[in-house]
Every structure is written in C-alpha cells, then in structure tokens.
Amino acid sequence: MILELLKKVYRVSKALSVKSPATEDVRTHVMHQSDRFRGEHQIDYETCIGCDACNKICPTTAITMKHLPFKKQNIVPEVNLGVCIFCGLCEDVCPTKPEKSIILSGGRYDMLSGGWHEDQVNFWVHVDVPQEYIDSRLEAEEAARVKKELEAKKKAALLAMKDKEVKAPVSGVPDFSGEQI
C-alpha cells in the first residue's frame, strides 16, 4: 500500500512540470474571447424602428422604453444592466436588418457599480440621442409631413379637379408638444 501511495505521490508531483493555464493577468486580459460573447448592450437608435419586441420578450424587466419626440419610431430601448441576465433574446427578436439595432455580442464583460441599491442610476445603457439627430429627424419628419401635405394637397387638387368639387384642406398640424418625452 505504501509503495502504491508513493507511486501516486510521484505521479501527482508530475503536475509541477505542467505550466499553469493562468498565464495572463486577468485584470488586463480576457482569457477567452468569443465573437458571440454577450456583454453590455449597444443600441443603435438610428436603425431601431421602435417595435417594442425586445421589451416584450425580455424575461426580466430589464428593458424600458425611452420615448423620443418623433412620430414614428418614438421609442427606443434602454437596458438596466443590474437586472439584465444577458440572455440575448432581445437581440434575437429584433427585426431590423441587416444589423440588429440592439446588440449584445462582443460587449464589455466587467460591468461594476457601487453596491448600493440607489447606485443603479449609473447602471443603465442609456441611449443618448444627440440633439442634432433629434432636430434632423424632426426636420426630416417636418419635411416629410410638408411633402406629404403637399402631395395630399396635390392629390386633393387633382381629385378636386377630377370631381370638380372643392374640398376643405387637411386638418391642422399635429402638436408634438403633447407627446411624452
């Protein structure tokens, strides 16, 4: 028995010659990198169409929708990283093509925050929509609306021309200020 034990001891001590896999300082390096790694979200407010699908599928309550002052894609998701479990279902379900507008893959892995429950303010993936973009979108929308109105007018005129009846112009400009921000 003792001989056997000594043999075991010898074989264990062979491990001394094995180089440890912990070769890198994990404070600065990631040990294994994968393209699909699900980390912090990146949200592309430009392509998001505001379909609310990601909010609906999220198995936790991580996603809340932020309202934007546009007419069409008036919501964009924001993620509470403290609650998110990085399951990636929101990315799967997102219908935009070719690039999904909510992406987890390749995100940051070390997300830390103060442990106080109130600290969770710092712990969101906020969508900072720049003012210029809002303005440009509003402008574009305005332009589109104007164009549409014009077209409508034209159409109406055409129709009027056709039916030879005079119709009242389209009702007033929609009021954006009423929309929630």
Binding site: T60, C87, L112
Partner: protein, 157 residues
Amino acid sequence: MLKIYDFFAHAKSESLWMAHFCTGCCSLEMAAAMGPRYDWERYGYLPTPTPRQADLLIITGLVSKKMLPALLRTYAQMPEPKYVLALGACSFDGGPYNDSLSVIKNPTEILPADIFVAGCPPRPEAIIAGLEEIKKKMKAGIPSAASQGGLWKEMEF
C-alpha cells in the same frame, strides 16, 4: 507610527479572505475563478471555512427568503473590517427571478454591497475586477457600505 499604521492598512486591503458561503448559482463561476485558469489566489484571495476569519462576504447571486437570515447572520458574525461583494443580477434586483415568489428582490437594499458585479453569472474576469475594485476602495479608506446603512440594521435575525 503612521508608517506602521499604513502598512497594516495596506496589508488589510491586499489580503481579502472570503467567507465560504454559496447562495446561488453564481458560485459556480466563483469556483471557476478559484480554478486553474483564473486562479484568484494570484491576487491574494482565499476562501476560509468560517466567517470568523473572513474579511469579505460574497453574495453569490440569488438570496431566497429562507437564506436571508443565514446571510445576515454570517455577515454579522464576521470581524471588523468587513466588506461585501454582490455578484449577479439576482443579488441586485432579483434578476431572472424578479417575479418569483420566494426570493428577496433586492438584497442590496437590505445588505448594501460595496461593489456589485453585473452578469448572470458574471465572468470570472469580472469577479476578479470587482474584487480589485474593493481593494481600491479599501486603500482609499472608504468605509464599507453595509456599515453605513441598509435595512439589515433594523431587522432581527
């Protein structure tokens, strides 16, 4: 004299021993962080069998209602100075079990953690990064969060 005091403060921050206490599945990744590839012993962390010798309590994810008294008591029985690290979505806002019957939805409101590491479960790298952050806090002389407040002071357990 000041030098000596500084040395001991530094020593305290450099040697964090953690209480061996598993509350949820994040402890699997904690085991991986102990394992050969990540090897957190390189940075000076060591698990101890009893809270009496520990400096750090790791809330490894989910805290169920039945577990909460044990968690708080374990924390209370650790000697000063003591710090808390929270891992995983569960220990913050219930995570995937947010609408479950039996878990404490916000353990960090009851026992505030010094650092919270997000993820479900967080990668071992992230766990170690969180621990390093606690070291930084200790070096800066910031007192631990749980000693500042939190519901646990009002609770009986």
